[in-house]
Symmetry: C2
Subunit: 407 residues, 2 copies
């Protein structure tokens, strides 16, 4: 079998994601599509609007054959570690290619950019340090520095080009055999906040519509199974965003000493003092973040630091996890074709597959379950029953019947 990987968040799964899966399958000729997907927390340092289980169902009903969970430290990290974790998983899954959407759409641009990076690494680092000393955020300085040293062929100021560059870099630097491919993104831009007129809108705009009190209809922008799954999820669980976590985050910050706060990943350079101060007077997450934001840190960087406090993710724990590729392959769901591919891969991959939680243990999985348990605790509507991830088998999807089994 010929597998192609994609790196995704599906927050939620929309028409653009559907298009990407179909095109990637066509372009690579794959008969198995593997989605390496973030769990309940995402790269921008925030909770997913619906749980990984609902998003797994969306993915399977939208064309993915296997969904593998990207562990928390990678899923909530900057583009570099996010890419390192996910491409390592797709390599370990034996995918022949991975295919990412980008603003550029031209694979040569990425290959050239990684070449430039490899040959000018020290020069680049020096330039970044110089710019950061002036108080700019990391993403901004790195894009300027990169253009400066001759990486002009690829615009590294757009989010999907940045991610694509990191995917290709991770694969080249680690000597992986997986082949990178790219597809130009259609219509919507990643950061677009409003629903447009086409059938493709950004996940950001769709989430904004879902949370807004206006009756903006998102049905046009989501494949119908995805739309139904979203509504079904929201009948049992709260729509999750940072505002839902905030009362707990505030409790956590209020009960923690500054020393303790500084033990969490990405809480550095005295950030604990400002976090303590800003949380005390804030009634909402937005108030807190607005007070906390400075030129030095991006909004995302501050969300990530806050998420690690919320999740009790300490520096050593995350740093040690990020040193090596993810050490296991946790299967969240599969189609019939995915199931075939998995039984075929079981003998080939060096990493253990995790389908039954009680049969496997690892500190990284323990962290995943801790952060997940608290997601369900907060997402659960008061009338609901306790959701126990230990009792949750992988989602099984029958593509011919378009139905989920034992889930």
């Amino acid at each position: 079998m010929n597998a192609c990987g994609v790196v995704v968040e599906y927050n939620p799964f929309h028409n653009g994601h559907y298009y990407h899966l179909q095109e990637a399958r066509k372009q690579t000729g794959a008969d198995c599509m593997i989605a390496c997907m973030s769990g309940n927390y995402l790269q921008r340092g925030e909770p997913a609007i619906v749980s990984k289980w609902t998003r797994t169902k969306m993915a399977l009903s939208g064309g993915a054959d296997i969904v593998i969970e990207l562990p928390y430290p990678f899923a909530t990290s900057n583009a570099e570690y996010f890419a390192y974790g996910s491409i390592s998983i797709l390599e370990a899954m034996g995918a022949e290619a991975f295919c990412f959407g980008s603003e550029s759409g031209n694979m040569d641009d990425f290959i050239t950019a990684v070449d430039v990076f490899q040959s000018s690494r020290h020069q680049l680092d020096a330039k970044i340090s110089e710019l950061m000393a002036k108080g700019y955020s990391y993403p901004k300085t790195s894009s300027i520095a990169f253009a400066d040293i001759g990486g002009q062929t690829l615009d590294l100021s757009t989010p999907n080009n940045i991610l694509g560059f990191e995917y290709v870099k991770a694969s080249v630097l680690n000597g992986y055999s997986i082949r990178p491919e790219t597809i130009q993104r259609k219509s919507a831009q990643y950061h677009d906040e409003e629903l447009g007129k086409g059938v493709i809108a950004s996940a950001t705009a769709i989430r904004k519509a879902i949370f807004s009190s206006s009756s903006a209809n998102t049905a046009d922008y989501l494949p119908s199974p995805s739309y139904d799954l979203l509504n079904e999820d929201h009948s049992r669980f709260n729509k999750m965003n940072w505002e839902m976590l905030f009362p707990f985050f505030k409790y956590k910050v209020l009960t923690s000493t500054k020393e303790k706060l500084s033990s969490y990943y990405q809480v550095e350079e005295g950030l604990e003092n400002r976090i303590k101060e800003c949380v005390l007077h804030a009634e909402t997450f937005n108030e807190y973040m607005t007070a906390l934001k400075t030129k030095r840190y991006t909004w995302t960087r501050l969300q990530r630091a806050s998420l690690h406090i919320f999740a009790d993710a300490v520096k050593e724990e995350i740093k040690s996890a990020l040193k090596s590729p993810p050490p296991y392959l946790r299967v969240l769901g599969m189609s019939k074709a995915g199931q075939q591919y998995l039984s075929h891969m079981k003998k080939k991959t060096p990493l253990p597959f995790v389908t039954t939680l009680s049969k496997f243990s690892h500190p990284l999985l323990e962290l995943e379950l801790r952060t997940s348990a608290v997601y369900y605790h907060i997402a659960k509507k008061s009338s609901g029953t306790v959701f126990n991830e230990y009792a949750q088998p992988p989602v099984m999807f029958d593509e011919r019947e378009q139905a989920f089994k034992n889930s």
Copy 2:
């Protein structure tokens, strides 16, 4: 001036407390009544139904002249440390006597019991160890052991006799000059759960009535200023009990590793494993506690361990605090007479008075403020403004006008 101390929780301040203050003043001939009062968390390891500020107002309008805060580690500890902390504060306040309510009512019984304790300490410890090895709880074994070695004159199975014994013991063992006195308690028993027919009911029964959906009227059992203060408080803040803390406690346990849980005070002998397990399936605090309870630990002991997890109170922090008497005297409120007494005492006491938080710092006070901030965070009704303890001056009460100033 002649001051008499009382050790109190006032949860809430009721007719029995009023009677106790009047009788203690009469019996000791004091012209200044000093209440050493727990802050927002109490000896049974639970939050107070209303904050320390409202309870301070209740105390001042009910006959107290000065209210001093008993710091968290002592206020939430067993009878021995609770007594050590509070009697040390009253000694440092220069009170000539302290006066406690007891089932016995006979001071000689307490003096004899402390003599027996001093002369048979080793024998007593051996007997307690022997009984505890059989799996009984500490309060039970110590009462049996004490009767066994000849302490029959005082019944140490009743809660106020136990506390009284510890008060007298603390004063004798530390060579304090403060003189112990006792008053027999009227009518209600500490543990009574129902409102009786008299004007005195236990605080337990009053709280039960307040939380019950029935329209049981508590006005008969509270002095009218206390009743009004309670209602006024509940128009701005939630009625606090463990159920209010539980969602946050559950979040805390779910996000903590077992190793981290075992770092909290009183989480010992593998209790962290059972706490993790019991919290996962519990929807309410009562469900959690019912699942957690065994013969080995009293309900109170388990509430205390849970409270320390909630409050992020680690072993070293509490153990080191309990080694010495409270290191400062934090004034929560005063009457005119109390104000006079305080200015007179300022030159005499070796300990610093704390009235303005920004002018004093101590790790113990920092712990107090952390645990208090989270109390207000949870107690606050959604429409309320953020309560900031740093901005709260001591409550000033004019007994002639029966009014509060600058509070």
